[in-house]
Amino acid sequence: MSAPELSSRPRLAVGCRLNEKNQPMRVLHMPEKALRLSGPSLEIVERCDGRRTVQEIISELQEIYAKAEPKKVVDDILGYLARLHDERALDFVSDEANRSAGAK
């Protein structure tokens, strides 16, 4: 597992998406499987929109989970993002790739 760069922008990979908000249980759909999401895992995945950076996601979650130890929040988020990346559910878009895509 490799931790993502703080400046990269995680985005759900092709074929992966959150189910609709009105469903009784929130899941991350992936080809051939689905992950149940609740609490922090849902808060993280909802923010993997290709716009927010890893650092921004961390800051937002530290606000939501203000009572948790900030370092632990960072570790949990980085670990979870790396795991989703290993499962091919996430792409980490680097700032450079974003700029060159924007320049086109």
């Binding site: 990979a13 092709v14 074929g15 992966c16 998406r17 189910n19 609709e20 009105n22 469903q23 249980m25 899941v27 759909h29 080809p31 051939e32 689905a34 290993d86 091919r88």
Partner: protein
């Protein structure tokens, strides 16, 4: 005692048994459903909504060839509107770029494209029609489109030595997953079994090659390999357990616990035109029959593995022993394992490696 029904996770929608291919190992039943018996768009759409309400997360459109249904785009949209993750299992044959774009716009999440071989010649032999070149065209179209792709190579004795060439096709495509699935011996494959079961030497070579490939492609492409269970020590947890995760709906609306269940004599299957999906899933005789562990025979009943494999496959037990409630005879602990050993021994006999052209029994098309 009957067990409480778990939540179904996936709906396998066999939209039609019509198919441009005539594969010698087709998983469809020997008795194919006719076009006139197929469900309408409206009934399917109701089934999708009922499935989602019962907890189903994913729908697999399959067949036959689902693209043979002119209303497939509408069905994809209806499934997506119901809140399902939409997977299309296809040969890619009756497809062009415009229809592909319509399917994606309607909400198609994932395509599983099947391949019968690595080359034009072998692909066409096993499919009984010219199909390979079109599949390669579909792969090209998919490269520029945002939809997940799995390639599914159907493996058996006469193409298992083509794995490197098959993998090369996968690596130059946009696939995130490549499955090498050995044929399972039901339906048409059971009829052609002696020509399809690989030899032990072939299997060992292929496992070794795929292990290396899996390592090399880790993080890029997920490689999956399904070995023939005749060579296994323990049975597979068929369908993840009977009536536990999957509900399969046949083209005419019959609700089945698996693709082959209709071969089991005496089982009555309820039809979704008459009863709701939840009612059938929870209460119907067919889904209750082998659900859970209470019905298990010995040696399964006292076996530590019973919660892992649920006694194996009911259809295979019936095909090989004549008793659907027997321990799956591929299990090394099964009293009737010698029946499987005999088939494996024949496949590895002196004539086994000779490549005499087999006389295939091709699956026909229903009217």
């Amino acid at each position: 005692m009957t067990s409480a029904a778990p939540t179904p996770l996936a709906l396998i929608a066999e939209l039609t048994h019509r198919c441009p291919l005539h594969c010698v190992y087709c998983s469809n039943p020997l008795e194919l459903k006719h076009r006139a018996d197929e469900l309408s768009t409206e009934v399917w759409s109701r089934i999708f909504r009922e499935a989602a309400a019962a907890g189903v997360l994913q729908i697999d459109f399959t067949g036959g060839e689902p693209l043979a249904r002119p209303d497939l785009v509408d069905l994809v949209r209806a499934a997506r509107d119901a809140g399902l993750y939409v997977n299309l299992i296809t040969s890619g044959l009756p497809l062009d770029e415009a229809r592909l774009d319509e399917l994606i716009a309607a909400g198609l999440d994932h395509i599983q494209l099947s391949f019968q071989g690595a080359t034009e010649e072998s692909g066409n032999e096993f499919a009984g029609t010219k199909a390979h070149a079109q599949k390669l065209r579909v792969l090209e179209w998919l490269k520029s489109r945002r939809v997940a792709l799995t390639l599914n190579f159907v493996i058996h004795r006469r193409n298992i030595d083509q794995l490197p060439e098959m993998l090369a096709i996968g690596e130059t495509s946009s696939a995130g997953r490549i499955e090498f699935a050995n044929v399972q011996y039901y339906g048409w494959a059971f009829s052609n079994r002696e020509n399809l079961l690989p030899t032990r030497a072939q299997l060992e070579r292929s496992v070794e090659f795929l292990k290396r490939s899996e390592e090399r492609l880790r993080g890029k492409i997920h490689v999956e390999f399904v070995v023939p269970d005749y060579y296994g020590k323990y049975p597979k947890a068929c369908m993840g357990g009977w009536g536990r995760k999957f509900i399969l709906v046949a083209p005419n609306g019959d609700a089945l616990p698996c693709h082959a269940a209709q071969i089991i004599p005496g089982l009555h299957f309820d039809n979704l035109k008459d009863r709701s999906l939840r009612e059938i899933w929870e209460k119907s005789e067919a889904f209750q029959k082998f659900r859970g562990e209470d019905w298990l025979p010995e040696p399964c009943q006292s076996c530590d593995r019973r919660s892992r494999d649920f006694g194996g496959c009911r259809c295979q037990a019936f095909l090989l022993t004549g008793d659907a409630a027997a321990t799956d005879p591929v299990c090394s602990l099964a009293p009737l394992r010698p029946k499987v050993d005999a088939v494996v021994a024949a496949a590895n006999g002196p004539a086994a490696e000779s490549l005499v052209q087999p006389s295939w029994i091709y699956r026909p098309n229903p009217v």
